[in-house]
């Protein structure tokens, strides 16, 4: 597509402030991506670009009509959202690295004012433990390679909640269903970029086809390393931390500059379903052994009883 000044040429077709209707394939204009079923879509969240504005949180709540969770102050920097939940599908984490032990910093390393800000979201894992745990088929993989809970199927068993290795999926106690980021399934179907990515003013959240995003992300890491930000690395891209334990890559992956745990992420999450076979195998072997013992004991008892007669 011809692009001048970063604006796709087709955008000029919609110069009028009053739109005639839905722009076909709008994501082409806003993210440079034509959304087609059968391809793999995701987010690349580059935390070095995040300014902590929470536009993603607001856009997500607006588009998905999600209510506020409890309103209050956490005391954890500017993070009063707290956590991802049934009603919060984007969560901006704030880590102030200025000064330690309650002391003000006397000098600062020249990088991003030493605040880490990171917009967390459902990772849409390649081998998603929530989906693998779901007994009803409510959780499914869409034609865009994303993971979505079908609200008309979910019976609120809640098994996906502990299955998730990132603490993302949550039950809504009001409607009794599991909820999480849908990667704006409805918007993708309409050719629209997901709300959070579209609203992100710094392009910290980038939407696109996963292979393209990984390529972009790797180039970004190289660039940052060259500019002296040597701690930059990818989390959840193929072969990187986060994409561990047979989970495969994460369709929503991140560029981080401190250890994953600092952002509340595990270094090496695992695929929960890999523990089914060892557990069932050991258990059934135990039962087989004890059943044999019972057979032997009952047979001995019968033999003894017969002899007494």
């Amino acid at each position: 597509m011809a692009v001048s000044m970063g604006v796709p040429a087709r955008a000029l077709d919609y110069a009028d402030p009053i739109l005639p209707g839905l722009i076909p394939d709008e994501a082409e204009l806003t993210a440079g991506v034509r959304i087609e079923p059968g391809k793999s879509y995701g987010f690349f969240t580059d935390t070095t670009l995040c300014i902590g504005c929470k536009a993603c949180e607001v856009a997500c709540k607006e588009w998905n009509a999600l209510p506020a969770d409890e309103v209050g102050l956490t005391g954890n920097s500017y993070d009063n959202t707290g956590r991802l939940s049934a009603n919060t599908w984007r969560h901006v984490a704030f880590v102030e690295k200025i000064g330690t032990n309650g002391k003000r910093a006397a000098e600062m390393a020249p990088f991003q004012s030493n605040w880490l800000m990171m917009s967390d979201v459902c990772k849409h894992c390649h081998n998603a433990p929530c989906l693998e745990a779901c007994p009803t088929g409510a959780l499914f993989r869409t034609e865009f390679d994303t993971v979505v809970v079908q609200q008309d199927i979910c019976n609120g068993c809640g098994y996906c909640v502990p299955a998730c290795p990132f603490g993302v999926v949550d039950l809504n106690e009001v409607d009794g269903k599991a909820h999480k980021c849908t990667l704006c399934y409805d918007r993708l179907k309409g050719g629209l970029e997901p709300a959070c990515a579209k609203s992100c003013p710094t392009d910290s959240i980038q939407f696109g086809e996963v292979p393209d995003l990984v390529e972009k992300a790797r180039a970004r890491v190289e660039d940052l390393h060259g500019r002296g930000a040597v701690d930059a690395y990818l989390y959840g891209a193929p072969g990187e931390p986060g994409a561990t334990g047979d989970l495969g890559h994460l369709n929503a992956f991140f560029l981080l500059t401190d250890r994953p745990e600092v952002y509340g992420l595990p270094t090496a999450p695992t695929r929960a379903s890999n523990r089914v076979a060892p557990a069932l195998g050991a258990g059934l072997a135990t039962m087989a052994g004890l059943t044999l013992a019972a057979i032997a004991l009952f047979a001995t008892n019968r033999f003894a009883t017969n002899r007494r007669r």
Partner: protein, 324 residues
């Protein structure tokens, strides 16, 4: 250039100590179901063993076992459906089959167990002993699943305490299930004035308690090695696990039944004490593991210690690759 942030081993960092996981919504109903599923599943196994190899004087034992199995298939699903947050859609559990989900596997085990247990008891009551004799075999096979699939259900999550030791958790649940069934049936034999049946069952319970005790001690060691033992070492569920599940549930009955096994005339009091200890301990084990597990999910350091790179598990050495 090696990155400090990626190569250095985990040193306790968290995001303001916030949980990195969500705890399961499972509570006492699930704990009760796990206990009951094990009790009724193993009762069907013992009933079948007694029916096929125990002789005529075990007829009451067999009937009690079949009754216990039915109790599990009536009360069990009620507990499970009561734990759903949209119970009116309980039937969606049988909408698909998913082999990666112990919840799905368990739904079918429970369905099969219920169907064959009902057929067994129904045929028995109608005087169709032959039908009952055949139907009890698949019911008993499903009963082995009932006894242990719940351990796979807990292990196949990201909850650190449950995930840390899938095999030993399953051995504990299975052994406790068999011990509980033997204990309940032993009490039934005592009440019915048939001490001989009780003595055989007590030996089954003794064997199961021994397995339970060994697996419990091994599991405790594994939790410590994995750095996830916190919720069973401190807090409200530590005594339930240590005293309730291990001491009362496994050690006390092992001693009671072992003393009885060496006696010429076994003591009824010791037998009853051992049986009651097993039943109380079995419930304590399920409650402690369930609630301590939920606590462990909210302890970020437990999870981050557990979710460390393991080159043997991953197809690549995790932290080395990002160091460049």
């Amino acid at each position: 250039m090696p990155q400090d942030s990626a190569v250095r081993p985990y040193a306790g960092e968290t995001y303001y100590g916030c949980p990195a996981l969500k705890a399961s919504p499972f509570g006492w109903k699930t704990a009760g179901y796990i206990f009951l599923a094990g009790l009724s599943g193993s009762a069907q196994i013992l009933g079948t063993v007694a029916d096929l190899g125990g002789g005529r004087e075990k007829r009451n034992l067999v009937r009690n076992a079949r009754g216990l199995a039915i109790a599990g298939t009536v009360v069990g699903p009620a507990l499970l459906i009561g734990d759903l947050h949209t119970p009116s859609r309980w039937y969606n559990m049988l909408r698909i089959f998913r082999r990666t989900s112990p919840m799905s596997i368990g739904s079918y085990i429970l369905t099969g167990f219920g169907a064959f247990s009902a057929l067994t008891l129904g045929a028995d009551r109608l005087g169709l002993a032959g039908v009952a004799r055949v139907a009890q075999v698949p019911a008993a096979v499903a009963g082995t699943g009932m006894s242990v699939y719940t351990a796979a259900l807990l292990s196949a999550t990201s909850t650190p305490l449950w995930a840390a030791s899938p095999r030993l958790l399953s051995v504990r649940f299975g052994a406790s299930a068999m011990a509980s069934a033997a204990a309940a049936l032993s009490l039934g034999e005592r009440l019915g004035g048939r001490p001989e049946g009780a003595e055989t069952l007590d030996r089954v319970a003794m064997a199961a308690s021994a397995v339970d005790l060994v697996a419990s001690v091994a599991a405790e060691r594994e939790y410590k090695a994995e750095g996830v033992a916190g919720p069973v070492e401190e807090g409200p569920w530590a005594p339930v696990e240590k005293i309730g599940a291990i001491a009362v549930g496994a050690a006390v009955p092992l001693v009671c039944h072992a003393i009885n096994a060496r006696r010429e005339r076994p003591s009824a009091a010791l037998s009853v004490l051992g049986s009651l200890a097993i039943l109380a301990g079995g419930m304590a084990l399920r409650s402690a593991m369930l609630h301590a597990g939920n606590r462990s999910a909210t302890r970020p350091r437990d999870y981050f210690r557990f979710a460390r790179p393991r080159p043997a598990l991953d197809h690549r050495p995790a932290p080395d690759r990002i160091a460049r």
